[in-house]
Symmetry: none
Subunit: 134 residues, 4 copies
């Protein structure tokens, strides 16, 4: 199930794109899995079909999904999808880090923030799959 924040500055269709990307990365959506139809998805999420449509169009442009007229939309089998989505995330992190650096924050402060999120255990965990609780 997907949670959207209607009040967020980030447009709903952007949130939706991000959420679908996450589900792919989490393996909950696999290549050639079918996405809900625009109309059903919109009803499910309580948003306008145009909004879902726009998200799908963007995702198709980015080769994350492909659409078959009259059939539906599917996760792209493209082997690089994961890599591409990861790269997007990395870019967002770098962008925030660059701004912080421009503001004179030290590398240590940033590393600290990363540890705050990932925990400080010595094992270099990969953060993937099931969330292991040591």
């Amino acid at each position: 199930m997907i949670r959207l924040d209607l009040q967020s500055r980030l447009p709903i269709y952007e949130q939706l794109k991000n959420k679908i990307g996450e589900l792919v990365l989490l393996g909950e959506l696999k290549p050639d899995d079918q996405l809900p139809s625009v109309r059903n998805f919109a009803r499910e999420l309580g948003i306008n079909p145009n909004t879902v449509q726009k998200a799908y169009q963007d995702l198709e442009r980015d080769k994350i999904i492909y659409s078959v007229a009259g059939r539906g939309s599917y996760i792209s089998p493209d082997i690089d999808v994961t890599k591409q989505l990861h790269e997007q995330q990395i870019q967002k992190v770098k962008s925030a880090v660059m701004q912080a650096k421009a503001c004179n924050l030290s590398k240590d402060q940033i590393i600290d923030a990363v540890y705050d999120v990932y925990g400080r255990d010595t094992s270099h965990d990969s953060g993937n799959g099931t969330y292991e609780k040591i």
Copy 2:
């Protein structure tokens, strides 16, 4: 001097708020320094006085600056201004990192991204050369 991107999705007044925050963190604006008047700043930046006004009012609400009607606007003497601005930056980084983690990126991948920005030299240097304690 401040550069604004009039085409950016980020509103002009938000850009201006960010820039002023950066100048405070860089030490180029110090407590009780007077900011340009709403009108002068607007003329200088090529934007409307109301837009500067909006930025100033937001900054005042956040206790970054204080305004005295009939006198001018000044950097807040609040001893925690720097801390608060740093905290804002850190939060933006954490937010990006949390999203990346949710997408299964590993801690190492994030740390790598941080190194990409700050460099990989062993010394734990700060953002710029000014404050390193080595």
Copy 3:
């Protein structure tokens, strides 16, 4: 219906904020009730849309309402909205009382003033007849 005093020292947008707060406290506006659109409200009140917009944005910052771009503005469902608004009122009273105390007015004089407003009947009635538990 809302009456504004265009001559008042209190800015129109502040008056509007107060009025909306009152309507919430009086139960005439309930959580998730939709407020008039910025344009319609402005037309209704005979003021500029920007002025309504400013009131709405302030109320949103204070978590009294929330706005969804492209949809409308709504009373916040926050369970504490009433409490918060009451607290605001109480603070204004306390502020006036403190100033009076600083000027050497006696407790009895203040209590008298309160009775002048609420009446002197022994029943501890509430503000209007609606909520008394007797």
Copy 4:
């Protein structure tokens, strides 16, 4: 010594009027006491002489002080000065209480707020003079 809040919504000259009124009520300024000259007072307070002038003019209009051209300004000997100043304070309290009542706050809530300021001891203290600590 007088503290002014340059950032307050209340104009400085209004604050100054209030402060002088308080000092009269506290007995620190007595009938025929001389007030500082406009220029000296302004320098002392770090504000514009025009502002002091405006406060003095208002106070003279209200018969709180009287001015003698070429000599200076003095606290009015008028026997009703205290009563008048008290009345002003009472009116401010009533105004806040009326607004609270309009917002459905109960008499008890207001009385409580008054007790919060004056304390809850049974003795009907007058609040005057030195602040007795029972």
